[in-house]
Symmetry: C2
Subunit: 229 residues, 2 copies
């Protein structure tokens, strides 16, 4: 059975949504990143980047949430747009926009607003600006159609669904009001049984909750690294 | 003919390498980002993210360098690994590792070392650490085989080739010595006629060179944005 390495963060959630929507049988394997389990050699053999999610599907290993979404969509033929070069180009473009832009800049905005040591006014400004700019582009796209690919519910909507609920955590309380089309999509997807099932991910394992010193060292080792020369 | 929107930065270079290697006919369209041409409405209709590279292949539009590499590889059947689920999983995993990790963290390390206003010791340390960690993982992978996918030259090697020459610009002079396997791949690829042709990209148009105030405002608008509340 397909093994799904997960924790309760946004990126594993996207994959959980696909798995629940598709009905693919899977076995969850909790990786408690606050306990440092992502650095275990057995897990590094799955994902040398020491992050979740990852999957092992027989002898096929895939890591990175957006890679897994595309792999599973191609494997099952589900949650893809119509089979045309124009739709394929759009799918890949938007998936990479989310992978290389929305995700990383949202992550940096979360980090500098909530976890970074000391005062970092320029970094905070840079990442709030960039996170907001990226979500604005997603919101504009969703203003043109029901889903990221028009009338068709695809892996792009799943990728948006994973991160969008963290918008207040990166841009401040009430920030979701600036993105009405994203809010509309979230409400629609949240009501789906598969999304409700995916959201139980955090309750399926007794993940460490406390962000203590050991958790900070496991998750943000660069804070404790020597200064660069 | 395929239109290739480019400037002389690392991401367009990857696509130029594919185009030259494959022999696909293309017409280059220079987008001078220091002159703000990425913000022109006509270009935003191609890429709402206001970045190069992008391509228009008949009615197919693709933006983001890694999306374009995958699209062109699938279109031509070139520079892909063997056709197996395990190889597909590895290709997508490593392409996303480069797209969501190597590229963004390298970009942040370049920014904080070279362009960010003021002193940002923690942000600089964070991104140097993360950029180095990502390149270490690539170097380790290249220690296991000639190319990212073993014996087969693929779009992953092209994606590495685009950014790796900037390692000294993000980690300091001499930093390439820490990544001998990457250096070996760079030497091999640089010697290819297609790479030599791709490297002429910067000479095909009189790009603005000076990083003056107007260029900074076009490229880093968040520096000039109001402070977040």
């Amino acid at each position: 059975m397909l093994k799904f390495y997960y924790n309760a963060a946004p990126n594993p959630l996207k994959v959980a949504l696909f798995l629940e929507e598709s009905g693919l049988p899977y076995e969850g394997v909790a990786i408690d990143t606050k306990r440092g389990q992502q650095h275990d050699p057995a897990f590094l053999a799955i994902n040398p980047n020491a992050k979740v999610p990852a999957i092992a599907d027989g002898d096929v290993v895939v890591f990175d949430s957006n890679a897994i979404l595309l792999y599973l969509a191609e494997k099952t033929g589900m949650f893809l747009p119509e089979n045309s070069p124009a739709a394929r180009g759009a799918l890949l473009s938007w998936l990479m926009f989310i992978a290389s832009g929305v995700g990383p800049f949202s992550g940096q905005a979360v980090h500098f607003r909530n976890f970074a040591p000391g005062d970092n006014p320029y970094a905070r400004k840079r990442y709030e600006y960039e996170a907001r700019r990226h979500w604005r582009i997603i919101d504009d796209r969703l203003g043109q159609g029901r889903y990221m690919m028009g009338d068709t519910y695809t892996i792009l909507d799943m990728a948006v669904w994973g991160w969008a609920p963290r918008i207040p955590f990166m841009l401040g309380e009430g920030a979701m009001a600036d993105f009405p089309n994203i809010a509309r999509l979230m409400a629609e997807l949240d009501a789906r049984p598969a999304a409700q099932a995916a959201l139980t991910l955090k309750d399926r394992h007794a993940f460490k909750v406390e962000m203590d010193d050991a958790a900070m060292r496991s998750m943000y080792p660069q804070i404790f690294a020597p200064d660069p020369v």
